[in-house]
């Protein structure tokens, strides 16, 4: 199975890359944008059949390494 972890800056923490991209999109003429946030996606192939224990393990990975929870939030998707 596959685990997909999305990491992005917390709401309320200014995202300078998102802001710059927002401006660039506006200057290209895409004006219907309220907000742009930029994050990263970590895709892992897991050697496991148990979705529940995999989700637990991936959460631990996210908390200890993949995200810095001082400034970042994350979400986890497990794909069979």
């Amino acid at each position: 199975m596959k685990a997909i972890v999305n990491v992005y800056l917390k709401n309320g923490v200014l995202d300078p890359q998102g802001k710059a991209t927002h401006h660039a999109l506006n200057s290209l003429g895409f004006s219907n944008i309220d907000n742009v946030r930029i994050g990263k996606q970590i895709v892992m192939e897991l050697n496991s059949n148990d979705t529940e224990s995999a989700a637990k393990e991936v959460k631990e990975m996210a908390e200890t390494l993949l995200a810095n929870t001082v400034i970042e939030d994350y979400d986890i998707e497990i794909v069979e």
Partner: protein
């Protein structure tokens, strides 16, 4: 008098270890550089420095992966027992990732790598690092970073202020705070509550001789040796 010993950690991608060693030797310290695979900080170390650079290519986040190197457990133990630790630039990022210092360092708000001489103001000097500097003194120290945008939440910031943990603030030549990279309250350096772990983005080791444009780094780095 016995020379104080500075241990300098070296990770793959560290690039300021020799400059840092040179600076401390010039100031009368004995230095030794140790590879991150070592699992013991030498017992005779009076100070451990995590120097600048790009440990592990800044992959994932600056400092995020260095934090899991073998030497780090020993460093944590050293710091927990009151040993003095200084993180410069990437070293500061490693210390925040480890949780030895509060907050985190984000991408500069203008997204540029900022490399220049910068004036910084001393906010608190009641510590082992900046004790040779005056409060509100303006120092000229080079900066060179892409991820120096210091973030800490409001509650933590308040506690840090009460404990005198804010060390340095980016300012103009007259000492007025100035926005360099988007840091909360223009913070350039902080320490922990116990005041034995220090981190800053500017590079004092690059300001130790007037031919380099400034020697203001001397009084900073000398702070660690007894007067």
């Amino acid at each position: 008098m016995k020379k104080p010993t500075v241990t300098i950690l070296q990770f793959p991608g560290t690039n300021c270890e020799y400059d840092t060693g040179y600076a401390f030797e010039k100031l009368g310290y004995k230095t030794n550089i140790i590879w991150h695979k070592e699992d013991k900080i030498p017992k005779n170390s009076d100070l451990v420095v995590i120097p600048g650079g790009f440990s592990y290519g800044d992959y994932l986040r600056s400092g995020a992966i260095a934090r899991f190197s073998p030497v780090i457990n020993s460093l944590k133990e050293y710091a927990d027992n009151g040993g003095k630790v200084l993180g410069i630039c990437n070293g500061f990022q490693v210390l925040t990732e480890m949780g030895l210092l509060p907050g985190a360092l984000k991408r500069n708000n203008n997204l540029h790598f900022i490399s220049k001489h910068q004036t910084v103001k001393v906010i608190n000097n009641d510590n082992d690092f900046l004790n040779r500097c005056q409060k509100d003194e303006v120092l000229n120290i080079p900066v060179a970073h892409a991820d120096g945008n210091y973030y800490v939440d409001e509650d933590e910031l308040q506690k840090m202020k009460e404990n005198g943990q804010i060390l340095l603030q980016y300012c103009d030549a007259d000492g007025n705070p100035m926005v360099l990279n988007g840091s909360v309250e223009q913070i350039a350096g902080v320490c922990n509550k116990e005041k034995n772990v220090y981190g800053l983005m500017p590079h004092p080791e690059r300001a130790i001789d007037i031919v380099l444009g400034s020697d203001d780094g001397v009084k900073m780095l000398k702070g660690f040796s007894k007067k």
